[in-house]
Amino acid sequence: MLPNYTVNIMAWLRSPIKGVMLDISGVLKNGNVAIPGSIEAVQRLRKCGLKLRFVTNETQLSRHDLTEKLRRIGFQLHENEVFPPAPAMVETLKGLRLNPMLLVHPKVLIDFKDVDQSNPNCVVVGDAAEHFTYERMNSAFRLLMELKNPKLFTLGRGRYYLEEDGLCLDVGCFTTALEFATGLKAEVVGKPSSSFFATPLKDMGLDSSEVVMIGDDIESDVGGAQKCGMRGVLVRTGKFRPERDENHPNVKPDAVVNDLAQGVELILSSESFKSLIKHE
């Protein structure tokens, strides 16, 4: 059977691939279950000497617990290869000397342990999931209405993601609600923000033109990566929906693949494409 991926060949071949960024949820795994072939695909990338980083908007777990969870599922990776929004948010808060009111999941609080949360002068919204209550939303709303210079941060702006029992609302729903109520515009710390991608890029020591991002979110992963000069690959796993994502009005992926395994196959065969084109 022929692999039915699509690739924008000229954009794809414009420079050699030296590094790969992988989204986690919907690319490596759904919920607690590895997507078939993805564990081996990560191993293949490592063997070929490509630099690898895991860039995620996951905020239901601390960086440490997220790494451990992936290891338990069967992935081989190190905590310092994982880039979630919470540590980036902590750096931003420290830089701006802001004390946050945290509307986040209790399991991610440990990443904020060194941040002063007394007399809050901004609100940080993460994927608090079942910890989004009216009372907590209202407390955040009232603080933002009382502050002279209110600031609202959001750890990503995803619409939804796929769990084992179906699609789940992501943080974007609740951030949008607070924006509508307060008239503020939230600053995104996480994908698709270019400054968020800049940290793992710098860590790899590569130029964005040398890196491919693979994700299941057409806007946050593919659109965000392309905006900062990377190639963006969309996988047909996780929350992917053909009717909505394959003909997105604003984002055209550099390639669309069935899953991570096929994406890795495409990356590793890119050199042979090149020779094909040269022969013509």
Binding site: A128, A129, E130, H131, F132, T133, Y134, M137, N138, F141, R142, M145, R159, Y160, G166, L167, C168, L169, D170, G172, C173, F174, T176, A177, L178, E179, F180, A181, R244
Partner: protein, 265 residues
């Protein structure tokens, strides 16, 4: 000046902030309403309540001394109910218990629509996620209204609007708004008395919902400076409102209407 109410046949009246504020009558409103009734104009009361059923509203109005009949009251809750009935859908209801009465008899098993009113106890993740999944499966999204927040004794509190907006963002679906300022809401109340929009005037304290909504629907609008009115509110309108249509209170609005009616005789 030619009468601005040459063919006036009906008056639509807001309740909270126009006739009363919670359990206080706005002075002069009861007598003014009685005078307006004697004029023979058709009267309908239109309100954006999402927390209180019609029978709850009626018992409060009657205990305050207002002479208002059930069939004269149009609430956004009842408008949502008739939309649900006309679409023949089974709604998942974001409503508090005191409002559920208006949805008695509506089939809600195996829902294929989401109706959002003011329901603080349901604005939490699990209910929101249930609604989102229904929307993913093609359910209609119906907002009873979309106000951002309201004032309580403890301070400002989030209204239904932010949660509707969040569901719209996640689902990519625009909500259908049934209460003021939706033109359908005004026209439903008017068709009940067989009056055309250009033959009616709306009186209320909310410049955008009452007056702006009425003007958009082809009615005239009178703004009263009671309830939530704040100095300069009339400047928020995108339409032009003659200053004579901004009056101190409901009694002054009735004086204005009756005087204009008199000039056409």
């Amino acid at each position: 000046m030619a009468s601005c109410f040459r063919s006036l046949k009906a008056v639509l009246i807001d309740l909270s902030g126009t006739l009363h504020v919670e359990n206080d009558v706005i002075p002069g409103s009861i007598e003014a309403l009685n005078r307006l009734r004697k004029s023979g104009l058709a009267l309908r009361f239109v309100t954006n309540t999402t927390k209180e059923s019609r029978s709850f509203l009626l018992s409060r109005l009657s205990s305050l001394g207002f002479d208002i009949k059930a069939e004269e009251v149009f609430t956004s809750l009842l408008a949502a109910r008739s939309l649900v009935e006309s679409l023949k859908v089974r709604p998942y209801l974001f409503l508090e218990d005191e409002a559920l009465e208006d949805f008695q008899g509506i089939e809600t098993d195996n829902p294929n629509a989401v109706v959002v009113g003011l329901a603080p106890s349901m604005f939490e993740y699990n209910h929101m996620n249930r609604a989102f999944r229904l929307l993913q499966d093609g359910a209609h999204l119906i907002a009873i209204h979309k106000s951002k927040y309201y004032r309580t004794k403890e301070g400002l509190s989030l209204g239904p609007g932010p949660f509707v907006e969040g569901l719209e963002f996640a689902s990519g679906q625009k909500a259908r708004i049934v209460g003021k300022p939706a033109p359908d809401f005004f026209s439903t109340a008017l068709s009940d008395v067989g009056v055309k929009p250009e033959e009616a005037v709306m009186v209320g304290d909310d410049v955008l919902l009452d007056v702006g909504g009425a003007l958009d629907a082809g009615l005239q609008g009178i703004l009263v400076k009671t309830g939530k009115y704040r100095e300069g509110d009339e400047g928020k309108l995108k339409q032009v409102l003659n200053t004579s249509f901004v009056v101190s209170d409901f009694a002054a609005a009735v004086d204005f209407i009756l005087k204009e009616l008199g000039t056409q005789k």
